[in-house]
Symmetry: C2
Subunit: 207 residues, 2 copies
């Protein structure tokens, strides 16, 4: 069955982190939907109007596939919820009560929550477990979580709960995306993707 | 003085190659302008209207900064002309007579022409020199050029002519972008960028 990913985006999202994850998942056959999260939120359950253009962290303008409609965005609809980083985008996404609710729903619903914006794990109140993040927010996470400096951290140690995948920045976006492909579609699919993407022979993805 | 880059984009452009290059150059302080090249071209010297949305190779929709206006796009206006790959996008860009003219102008004007879509070097009639490309078009290039399998190839061996930089795919887009930063802004700037981007310690960029 086709796997489905919901990828959140907001003004200030890091466009490489968003694009590398979305594109790599599409290459793996995952059906990706990007959803615009407006600063300040939208009425819960609002019927979507046309999504607005997002201005990313380095000024690339992306038109998301849809606006975030929380009632259509739950773990019954998608296999993974993905939250890219980018300073201003991460702030909007981690402060959104709608996003916080979704993070809890995916985690409680035994699905995958994947974020380069690790602040959203904390604002959603996910319990203590292993995480990583961009070092600029490390101090906000070390009390509540077991902080690691690995490029991608997969936390899956609570039976019946979801998998939390965290990562560090644009430079870890490829290994982050490959890890998601592996979790959703298996290691063989992840390995198969890498050849045509032409990584230098010296780059040991996944790493 | 601020360096300026013109980055072409068309329907079917590989969004990771476009985004990684644009974003990395912006991080280096390079002023980037993305220009939409419509399949079939636009009247030479036409005055730009609002740029149309581009649908990239894996369905990410990007709004370019402007439409390509050839009279405003020459080597007197920018330091580097960049042409990303992506099968359908590469076809549109390499077949555009406006793009072919620009490639020749930058090369003859002693500026940098950088492409992951190496077909554009051939369709523009650039002379024999070292190039690389995605392997799917290798056979189209081996007669006219000295084909290399390096991740990034910098060809700068004709005095008075420009520098041709070619690369292979999304997996080589980071080293491609860092090489452009090095050529435009120096090695120190390229080195400085890498830290905050959080590449895994095992990834030896530039490589």
């Amino acid at each position: 069955m086709t796997k489905k990913a919901l990828i959140l985006i907001a003004d200030g999202t890091e466009e490489m982190e968003f694009t590398i994850t979305y594109d790599t998942l599409v290459r793996a056959g995952v059906e990706c939907t990007s959803a615009n999260v407006q600063s300040g939120g939208s009425p819960y359950g609002s019927v979507g109007t046309s999504p607005a253009l997002v201005v990313c962290s380095r000024s690339i303008k992306i038109l998301p596939d849809t606006n975030l409609q929380p009632l259509e965005a739950g773990p019954d609809k998608y296999d993974v919820l993905i939250i890219p980083g980018g300073l201003k985008g991460a702030e909007t996404l981690s402060q959104s009560t709608e996003v916080q609710t979704l993070v809890r729903q995916y985690y409680e619903g035994n699905k995958i929550v994947a974020m380069i914006c690790t602040l959203a794990a904390k604002t959603a109140g996910l319990p203590r477990q292993q995480v990583t993040s961009h070092p600029v927010i490390q101090n906000d996470l070390t009390t509540a979580y077991d902080y690691k400096e690995d490029s991608v951290v997969v936390s899956d140690n609570v039976p019946g709960k979801g998998i939390l995948v965290t990562s560090r920045g644009p430079g870890t976006a490829f290994p982050f995306a490959f890890k998601l492909v592996e979790l959703l579609c298996g290691k063989a699919k992840s390995d198969e993707l890498r050849g045509p993407m032409m990584f230098p022979p010296s780059v040991p993805y996944p790493c």
